[in-house]
């Protein structure tokens, strides 16, 4: 995925990313700002048009599909955004907002849904996300951030999608509310058999909800594997640094590890060799010139590093 950024420069937001989302899993995408996690999430639903590569959804290559043929597939893939307020038209009632997908898309039988069908589905959706039926008559501004995110989730689920891409859905919420919404996501997955791609910068939130985790840095996946393996025994030095940098609500007895130096380089001019080599605490000569490819380790995870931190450890 590339963007033109003026003066003939090109920003490569995603650079040769390959990954498969398995049915029923929660794939967490983590990384710092500018790593491409949101762009990847949007590419999956073709909300942005990738400049190269393929996106295959349930056997159908959707990369070049015309909008007319993409539309029926969109019922199966929905998105939840970070800004719960911006995502909801402030001048329309919640009932109208949540009903919109039901009006736009035909019923499974092919015809339009009747008023009664829509009303019944709205009632169901409110129960599903834990909002009172009276919410349908109210406007978005009358709700708190957590409740607004419930409204967005209800709308995303209206057409019973199979895949939901959630882009930082709890980042704007206070922790006590964040926990409610994370629990809701987990309950809904269990009840409806959903598959999620969960994009977030918060490692602890991602660990809580994900079965697998992909760690991204400067437009590429640097590590991909089972959530516990990746976050408990990171193989990539960047994953390890990211985990070490998370401030934990625990007063430590020993000193803190030294923080990673420097900033993330500009994606307009990424460093040669390994993208992380300018900040890597264990960088070696080869890393400066030879870009590592994503490769499988004995324990089943993928890592893009010449000198992974867990190479010797075979099996979980």
């Amino acid at each position: 995925m590339t963007y033109r950024v003026g003066r003939g420069q090109v920003l490569r937001a995603l650079d040769g990313v390959s990954l498969a989302v398995r049915p029923g899993e929660v794939l967490g995408l983590v990384g710092e700002s500018g790593c491409g996690k949101s762009t990847l999430g949007r590419c999956l639903l073709r909300l942005v048009q990738p400049s190269g590569g393929r996106v295959v959804f349930d056997g159908t290559d959707i990369t070049m599909l015309p909008e007319r043929r993409l539309r029926p597939l969109r019922q199966d893939m929905q998105m939840v955004f970070q800004d719960s307020y911006a995502a909801l038209n402030p001048r329309r009632r919640v009932g109208d907002l949540v009903a919109e997908p039901l009006r736009v898309h035909p019923a499974p039988s092919g015809g339009r849904r009747s008023r009664g069908e829509i009303a019944a589905r709205l009632a169901e959706l409110m129960d599903l996300v834990g909002l009172p039926q009276t919410a349908l008559e109210r406007y978005p501004h009358e709700f708190s951030g957590g409740q607004r995110q419930r409204i967005n989730i209800a709308r995303a689920l209206a057409l019973s999608p199979r895949l939901v891409v959630a882009d930082e859905p709890v980042a704007a919420l206070d922790v006590s509310i964040q926990a409610q919404i994370v629990n809701l996501f987990m309950d809904l997955r269990d009840r409806l058999g959903l598959t999620y791609v969960f994009v977030a910068h918060d490692l602890a939130v991602v660990r809580q909800i994900s079965t697998r985790v992909a760690v991204m840095y400067l437009g590429a996946i640097v590590e991909l594997g089972e959530a516990d393996a990746v976050l408990h025994h990171p193989a990539h030095p960047y994953t390890a640094a990211l985990i070490a940098a998370v401030p934990e609500p625990v007063v430590r007895t020993q000193g803190l590890p030294p923080p990673l130096r420097g900033d993330v380089p500009s994606p307009i001019a990424p460093p040669p060799g390994c993208r992380f080599h300018t900040r890597c605490p264990v960088v070696r000569e080869r890393c400066r010139v030879d870009p590592p490819l994503l490769r499988a380790l004995p324990d089943g995870r993928d890592v893009a590093c010449h000198y992974p931190l867990v190479e010797e450890r075979a099996g979980p």
Partner: protein, 332 residues
Amino acid sequence: MLLAVRDLTVALPIGGRLVPIVESVSFTLGAREILGIVGESGSGKSVTSLAIMGLIDVPGARISGSVRFRGRELVGLAPRAYRALRGREIAMIFQDPMTAFTPVYTVGRQIDEQIRAHQKISRSDARARTVRLLGDMGVPDPERVAGRYPHQLSGGLRQRAMIAMALSCNPALLIADEPTTALDVTVQAQILDLLRGLRRDYGSSVLLITHDMGVVAETCDRTLVLYSGLVAERGPTGALFAQPGHPYTAALLDSIPPLHGPRPARLPSIPGSPPAPAGRPAGCPFAPRCAYVHDSCAVRPPLVACGEQDVACVLPAEGRPLPPRFVAEMSA
């Protein structure tokens, strides 16, 4: 004592009547100490810091109580006297460094100006000091960075430049309002490291305002937890995190997903949401969401000693304090 805040109450006019946003907040801050004020949105933590800085300029606002800085009363201080104090003895940094810098001048010029506004020194001396400060803040190639405009710097560099500007006159007190919230974790870790070093290198005391319990745990000597404009709990950070005395503190810590140890099947969450200032209950403000609520919570509980902390809850006085918190072992 560098700063002593007693019964600070800030009431703002909302819908034709004065509504107390912050009520009876009291705490002290000693020399070279880092105190964290932590709370969720709407808890009153930013209003508290703005009141200390004399920056609440809402018409009709009423500020009562006492804020003593180096023995001098700040509540009711004339704007002119406040201006002489701000920037020189008390400095403030914000979440968004772009609001602290004007986009039309270089970062170096703005820091030079700040120095020369409070001290009579030449331009070149001021610039030399600016470059030294930027270097001290971990800015690579400080001379070059001083010649750049704010938008040309990364978020982390801008935050370092803002801290350099805040420290340019060696303030005794630095108020940092969510200084790392807009930063990525790896950069946040650098800035927190910098803040911890300030007391050693500059002898500064820091009042750190944040919503992030992790940031408090790793940075602050003592912690003040605000809930709905009132102090829920305050005490040494270690004790407060090991055995929170207020059910709100405990529930807030529990609702943070752990990064280590077993994953809970469900996150313990706090039902409902905090009350708006105008709709704050007469008794304990946390009572409607509290798992331990009972009859005596209908009266607003005073702060009482509980272990090493002071806690605004009736449980310790009733002889049934909360149990210590279970914390999973961290892997190496």
